[in-house]
C-alpha cells in the first residue's frame, strides 16, 4: 500500500480544519460523529505524513506554483512533522474530551458546547499552517489565527476571571505579533524576501539592520512563548481556561511560538547565534526554570500549579540555544524538538486529567482533591505517567530528549548548563511530587454522590500520557534520531 502524496496530506492538514470549523459554525449544528470523524481524519493524515517524511525526508511545496521568492512555500521538515503529529494527537484527545466535558457543562444557553468545536478546529488549523510554513509573513498571519482562536477559547466560560485572563492574553499576544512584524519589516527592507530558503542564503550576520530585525522577531516570539520574564500573561490564561483549552494552549500554542524560535535560530538566523546570544538565552531559560518551578511549588490550586510548570518547562527548552554552539548542533535541535513534543503530550494529559479530578472533587484546591476513590484512579494514573514524562524518567520521551541534550552538554564540557538541567529536573520532581504526595497520602473524601466520570473524561488523558511514555522507546533508536537530524 502506498501512502498519499505528501502535498495532498499537507493540503488536508491545513484546509480541513478551517473548512470543518466554518461548516460547523454556519450550519449551527453539532453533529458529534462528523466532528470526531474530521478529527480522526486529521490525525490519520498527520500520521501518514509522518510516515512519508520518515521515508523521504524534507520536501518543499510552492503554493500556487509560484517559485521562490515570489510565492509562499511550505517546508515539510522532520521536526515540523513531529510537531504536526503531536498536534494531531492532542487535537484528537481534546476533541473527544471536550465532547464529553461540555455535554455536562454546556454553559449559558449551550453556548460553550456550541462554540468549542469550531474554535478548537480553527486553532488546530492555525497550528498546522504554522508548522509547515516557511515564510516570515505567512507565519505572522498563522500566528494571528492561533492567537485569536486561543483568546476566544480562554474566554469561553465568560466568567470574570476568564475574561480578564483572555484580555491580558490578547494584549500580550498582539504586542508580541506587532514586534514580530517589526522584525519582518526590517528584514524585508534589507533583503526584499520573505521565504526562509532565500533569506538564509542572503542574510548577512554582521549587518546592524538585520540584527535589529532578528532581535525584534525574537522578542515578539519570546512574549508569545511566555519565556521568563515575559511570562506574566500565561498562568492566568492557562489556569483559568476550561481544561481541554488549557491542554491545547499549554501543550501546543506556546510550543508553536517556541518552535518558530527554534526554526529561526537554527535556520535563517543560525549564523547570528553567537556565544553571547546563547548565554543570554540560556540565562533566560535558567531564570524561567527556577522562577516557574518555585512558583509551581507554592501554588494551592491544581491548574495553577500545572500552568506554572509550563513556564518552568519552557525554561528548560531555552537551554538548547547555549548548547547549539558546540559540535552537536543537530543533536541539540532534535533534543529540543522532542522536548517540545514530550511537553505537548504530557502537559495536555496533565491538564485533561486535572480537569477530570477537579470535576470529581468539586474544587481545584490541591488539599481537597479526591484520592484513588472510584474511577478517579484512572485520572491519577494519567497524572503519574505524565509526571514521569515531564520529569524525564526512562523510558519516556522526556528522558530521550533530555538525554540528547545532556550528551551534547557533556561532550562540549558545558558544565554550567548541565548543572542547570539537573537542578531544573529536581525542581520538576519536587513540585510534581508534592502534588502526588498531598493528594495520595491525604486524600479528601470528595462529594457524595460522586459526579459521573465517563470514559471521554478519562481515556484521552491516559492515552496521551501513555504515548508520551512509549514514544521514548522509539526515540531511543539511533536510526530515528539520525533521520530527524537530517532536517537541520
Amino acid at each position: 500500500m502506498s501512502l498519499p502524496a505528501t502535498a495532498t496530506l499537507v493540503v488536508i492538514l491545513v484546509t480541513l480544519p478551517l473548512a470543518a470549523a466554518t461548516l460547523l459554525f454556519a450550519s449551527g449544528r453539532q453533529p458529534r460523529t462528523l466532528t470526531l470523524a474530521a478529527a480522526l481524519l486529521l490525525t490519520f493524515a498527520a500520521l501518514a505524513l509522518g510516515g512519508n517524511v520518515y521515508l523521504e525526508g524534507v520536501s518543499v511545496h510552492a503554493i500556487g506554483g509560484w517559485a521562490a521568492p515570489l510565492g509562499i512555500h511550505w517546508q515539510v521538515t522532520p521536526a515540523g512533522t513531529v510537531m504536526l503529529v503531536a498536534t494531531a494527537l492532542v487535537g484528537l484527545a481534546g476533541a473527544v474530551y471536550g465532547a464529553g466535558y461540555f455535554l455536562h457543562r454546556p454553559g449559558p444557553d449551550g453556548r460553550m458546547a456550541r462554540v468549542f468545536m469550531p474554535l478548537w478546529l480553527f486553532a488546530w488549523g492555525g497550528l498546522n499552517a504554522l508548522f509547515v510554513a516557511a515564510d516570515l509573513f505567512n507565519l505572522y498571519v498563522a500566528l494571528e489565527v492561533l492567537t485569536l482562536a486561543s483568546v476566544a477559547l480562554v474566554a469561553l466560560s465568560a466568567r470574570r476571571m476568564a475574561l480578564q485572563a483572555a484580555m491580558r492574553y490578547l494584549l500580550a499576544g498582539l504586542f508580541g505579533s506587532v514586534i514580530y512584524l517589526l522584525g519582518v519589516a526590517l528584514l524585508y527592507g534589507q533583503y526584499g524576501v520573505l521565504d526562509f530558503a532565500t533569506l538564509t542564503a542572503m542574510l548577512d550576520p554582521e549587518d546592524p539592520g538585520s540584527r535589529a530585525g532578528a532581535v525584534a522577531l525574537t522578542v515578539g516570539l519570546l512574549i508569545k512563548a511566555a519565556i521568563f520574564p515575559l511570562h506574566f500573561w500565561l498562568p492566568g490564561a492557562h489556569g483559568r481556561a476550561e481544561p481541554p483549552v488549557s491542554a491545547m494552549l499549554s501543550g501546543l500554542v506556546v510550543a508553536a511560538a517556541f518552535y518558530l524560535l527554534l526554526r529561526l535560530w537554527f535556520g535563517p538566523l543560525a549564523e547570528m547565534l553567537s556565544f553571547g546570544v546563547g548565554v543570554l538565552f540560556g540565562a533566560l531559560g535558567a531564570g524561567a526554570l527556577f522562577w516557574g518551578g518555585m512558583l509551581a511549588l507554592l501554588q494551592r490550586r491544581l491548574k495553577m500549579l500545572v500552568a506554572y510548570s509550563t513556564v518552568s518547562q519552557f525554561g528548560f527548552a531555552m537551554l538548547v540555544f547555549p548548547l547549539a554552539g558546540g559540535d552537536h548542533r543537530g543533536t541539540v535541535f532534535v533534543g529540543g524538538t522532542l522536548l517540545l513534543a514530550n511537553h505537548a503530550l504530557a502537559k495536555a494529559a496533565l491538564f485533561l486529567a486535572a480537569g477530570t479530578l477537579v470535576r470529581a472533587s468539586g474544587s481545584d484546591r490541591i488539599g481537597t482533591l479526591v484520592g484513588f476513590a472510584g474511577r478517579a484512579h484512572w485520572a491519577w494514573l494519567a497524572v503519574i505517567l505524565a509526571s514521569a514524562a515531564l520529569i524525564g524518567m526512562p523510558p519516556t520521551l522526556g528522558f530521550s530528549a533530555k538525554w540528547l541534550l545532556l550528551q551534547a552538554a557533556v561532550a562540549d564540557g558545558a558544565w554550567v548548563w548541565l548543572g542547570v538541567m539537573l537542578g531544573g529536573t529536581l525542581l520538576t520532581f519536587a513540585y510534581l511530587g508534592r502534588l502526588l504526595e498531598l493528594a495520595l497520602l491525604d486524600p479528601a473524601p470528595g462529594p457524595s454522590p460522586p459526579p459521573p466520570l465517563t470514559a471521554a473524561l478519562l481515556l484521552p488523558a491516559l492515552l496521551l500520557a501513555l504515548l508520551a511514555c512509549l514514544a521514548g522507546l522509539w526515540a531511543m533508536d539511533v536510526e530515528a534520531i539520525a533521520r530527524l537530524e537530517s532536517g537541520t
Binding site: 485569536l148 475574561l163 484580555m167 490578547l170 519589516a185
Partner: protein, 92 residues
C-alpha cells in the same frame, strides 16, 4: 541639505511605535491600551511600506501585507472591545 527619500516617514514610524509601546505599558484603562496598540501597528505598517518603496519603483508586496495587516488589526480590535465591554458589565 538633502535627506534620503522616506527619512521623514521612517522617523514618524519609529515615533509612532515608541508612543504606542509606551502607552501600552503605562496606561491603565484597557481602551487606551487598545488605542496604543493600534498606534504601534500603524508605525510598523508605515515602516513596511516606506522600506518597500525606497528600492526601484513601487513594490506591491508590502502593500498587500499592510492591507492584510489592517484587516487583522481591525478584527483583533473588535474582539478586544467586545471583551472590554463584557468585563465592564461583570464589574463586582
Amino acid at each position: 541639505m538633502s535627506l534620503p527619500p522616506g527619512t521623514l516617514f521612517l522617523l514618524a514610524a519609529a515615533l509612532l511605535f515608541a508612543i504606542g509601546a509606551h502607552g501600552l505599558v503605562t496606561c491603565r484603562h484597557l481602551l487606551r491600551k487598545v488605542l496604543a496598540l493600534n498606534v504601534t501597528t500603524t508605525g510598523v505598517f508605515l515602516l513596511l511600506v516606506t522600506l518597500g518603496r525606497s528600492g526601484t519603483g513601487v513594490d506591491p508586496v508590502p502593500h498587500a501585507m499592510v492591507l492584510t495587516g489592517i484587516v487583522v488589526a481591525l478584527s483583533t480590535t473588535a474582539v478586544a472591545l467586545g471583551l472590554i465591554v463584557r468585563l465592564e458589565r461583570r464589574q463586582p
